[in-house]
Symmetry: C2
Subunit: 199 residues, 2 copies
Amino acid sequence: MLRGEITTAIRRALMQELAAVGYGRLSIEAVARRAGVSKTAIYRRWNSKLDLVLEVVAAAAGRRLPALDTGTLRGDLSLLFQVLAHALRHPLASQIIPDLLAEAARNPTIDETLQRVLRARQQEVAGELIGRAVRRGELPADTDPDVAVDLIVGPLYWRIAIARTPVTDSYLEALVESVASGLGAQDSVPRQRSAPDPG
Amino acid sequence: MLRGEITTAIRRALMQELAAVGYGRLSIEAVARRAGVSKTAIYRRWNSKLDLVLEVVAAAAGRRLPALDTGTLRGDLSLLFQVLAHALRHPLASQIIPDLLAEAARNPTIDETLQRVLRARQQEVAGELIGRAVRRGELPADTDPDVAVDLIVGPLYWRIAIARTPVTDSYLEALVESVASGLGAQDSVPRQRSAPDPG
């Protein structure tokens, strides 16, 4: 294997091991075995199990989403919810992050890294969407980004990652309308639509 | 200790051990030691570690909240968010549930129990609140309880248990307005309030 291939194999094996056994029971031996590399190959790249886990998980959770600018707030929300619904079914969201959140209460380094990654992530996915809607005049200029981000990310996270309830297309459509209304979208006529949108 | 006191001591010790070491590393010996009882006292009451954990966690997570009927939707939301913000800082929400969610992907019995408890819980806290608001005429009769529940519980759960961002009184006030608007509350005038409410 080339150097880059070894690193990729280690990253993939680490994510699989984390999903399978969790942080507490994870061993570097098992990651090396799964990746088909030596333990030395891992320790040459990362100083410790903690270093390895934090760097790989932060990179995976921080991977940039495709551009989500559809031209309207509702279009952006709809696309974002579809992307999120897919991402939240990945073991990263359903197993690895919950496991590390539990671990974070016992380990300040894990806690700080997770907070930094999750905040950057939510800022990326929701903050940019809100900024565009404000510039388009769809949301009030004084929209509170703090509340808005939680309102956009929270309901779908709760449903898929915590309550583990299935998500249908009609659910996602209804959620777009509810979240847009909750954000104070100017053209929001959630219950009866009197005329088609001009744009 | 009396029989009831022994059971209470075991329950308390189990929750503390779960928060301290997580499900994977939890041992019945450590729970017995912390509770000051014999292992036999535990096995007389529960068949296995899994039985013990699921019964105690389900009982703790399923404990009924105080009555939340304040007479208005916004009042109910405000009180619920205060209660939730407190509850979500408990180790049950910040450590034990995330740990068991990660474990659930490896263990169908944990998965089913958690789903049952979390759904019953969200139905209790959000479902009853929505029903009252519909009966008062504050929410449309065709309010989709499926979306409404996620919209009520999700943002605060995301903020406190996942993103771990502090919650202030003014944040909670803004969240009440946003969620009420998102639910389609009839008297919702979130940005400019033209006249004081008659009621």
